[in-house]
Symmetry: none
Subunit: 399 residues, 2 copies
Amino acid sequence: MLDLISPLVVSNTTKIVLLSSDGLGGLPDPGTGRSELETARVPNLDALATRGACGLIRHVAPGITPGSGPGHLGLFGYDPLTYRVGRGVLEALGIEFDLRAGDVAARGNFCTVDAQGLITDRRAGRIATELCVQLTERLREIRLPGVEVFVEPVKEHRFVLVLRGAGLDGRLSETDPQLLGKPPLPVRALDAAAARTAELVNTFIAEARRRLADAAPANMVLLRGFDLLPALPRFPEVFQLRPAAIAAYPMYRGLAKLVGMEVLKTGSSFGDEVATLREYWDAYDFFFLHYKDTDKAGEDGDFGAKVAALERLDGFLPALEALRPDVLVVTGDHATPSVLAGHGWQPVPLVLWSRHCGADVVTAFSERGCGAGSLGVLPAQHLMPLVMANALRLTKFGA
Amino acid sequence: MLDLISPLVVSNTTKIVLLSSDGLGGLPDPGTGRSELETARVPNLDALATRGACGLIRHVAPGITPGSGPGHLGLFGYDPLTYRVGRGVLEALGIEFDLRAGDVAARGNFCTVDAQGLITDRRAGRIATELCVQLTERLREIRLPGVEVFVEPVKEHRFVLVLRGAGLDGRLSETDPQLLGKPPLPVRALDAAAARTAELVNTFIAEARRRLADAAPANMVLLRGFDLLPALPRFPEVFQLRPAAIAAYPMYRGLAKLVGMEVLKTGSSFGDEVATLREYWDAYDFFFLHYKDTDKAGEDGDFGAKVAALERLDGFLPALEALRPDVLVVTGDHATPSVLAGHGWQPVPLVLWSRHCGADVVTAFSERGCGAGSLGVLPAQHLMPLVMANALRLTKFGA
């Protein structure tokens, strides 16, 4: 898809706003038969749906529940099945570590082992974050031949390990046996090509054990979720856009950075994000805006809180529209139905407005409403071409 | 798709019923403008469509009419374009022959040849099935180097030939010239890799001619529909389900067995099948139920009979629902519109109910009704992931 789009891009001065309301999609409350969006009073979103073209975004495939990584990569135009982002990479993005293509990242835990090397606590009694910071400084001193080693504290007993160098491979088994009374497992290469990386990681683990010997309860490490950051085509080059990301949460800033967007400094609330958008309006032509509250309420299984989060979001819509974007898109990275209290596989409502979007029959921004829209059920990686077309930034295919 | 799903499967105790009403889809009667489903009184199916998520299943591709093999493999989660099941294999499945991966199967006819070896009757006067049984016993004695030979009677002049051994290939031409007064054709390899198999089959034919010399009118054989059974990923392992198939007709039992389902003994009516379902409810967590009458009536071009078959099926729905499955799916393996008196290429109505299926606007279980459903037009191999998601048996993709 990116190979098809890239040669068709033409320049223009149009401005695009892509608003991702995290976990936007929902499911009906069994009591009322109405979903969160159908329950919320969202007059501005409904008006946008009435003027715009609607549909449902499917991020991966029918029945597949997207994580936040694949969900956002899809919205950015990257087929999530081609460009995979695993757990180690996401953990590194979550602390805004500057990951590069070819890096192998893993989630680390400090743990406790006894004199025989058997695990007695997989989380080292959840040590304080300050201690985690000190111990990662010790581990950062470890040297491995031919690669750079990064060890970054996260929170409590958690850290991120990143190896950087040529020829690394993330196909490695995990060291956490998930049981007490067992020793940490050595890392095994799950593919012959990962043999050298496995050896490097095992060397790291042996060194870590030595350097942590006096640091009980955090006297050993467990590593899992090994993952290689694939080379991603750069968003600004593929789409010839000056893209800016505005997100209060680190992981979403990290995802945007991964594809080459400029990440703007902003505050901790969505109001701050909108102020940032206004401030930088002239400097960029594509804005990725992230709204977290819908997901958080859904994850908590709190139907009412999600309804309230949607109503708050709706209240910000006039401020976005006042900037007069040429293309305004509201959708999400995945569903988080309150009744599931977690991510869902359901396709996610989408509204796209531009002067050229065409009208459809939809008058309500909801799962059911958008299901009748002119955009149908749209694979996520097809959204960006549609956005670019509506921004009059694509020429025709074939003369 | 199977490679994507398999690592996401998590265990659960939920129960799934997949009801395939063979040849379910239809076309409007030119007189009334209403299809079989729109004509039938199916209040239980309509109620299920109202509560459930609806759509249309497309088994292969637009305009492509599926046979029963690809139609069902699609419903079981296997892309019918990747996992091909040809005529020889289907014929073998139709007699519940225990086919294995790598087997080459062909449809055989006894025929009559004259003293010059020219065909005078392509069906050997449709000999009695008992004679067919005797003659296949003669052919079964034929020995070929390095392969096992199976010759199984079917009905009248028809039999199945199966070769089992390493390195066989089904890309072979047919021996039936489709004309009288011509000799049977030798088998040719349609690919260099099939040369040895062609030689083996030609040896079999020469031997068959010798052993049948005194058996006029059944003094020769014609072979067609050569087909290799591909290695299919096993359904119980891919989906981590304990699957049971309940089907009165051998071919559907054979298709289910092909993917590793347990085939339950049942009677000859759909009522028997439902009784079997009830009996084995606790022992399995996935049930494939097959209803044949809709296809039979459609194949006969009998619109009224198909309407009646649909109404009978509708009457069984409360018995299925009384078992309280967590996921209940009603669809078909292909359309058999009465006005075509044969399989059709039209996508087939689908309803999927679970507590998490989401609501849509559909209130009638029909081609038109389901066309407005939230599942859209769904490639068949995407049904199982959706079923698994609704059974809460899939974790998310990407963290």
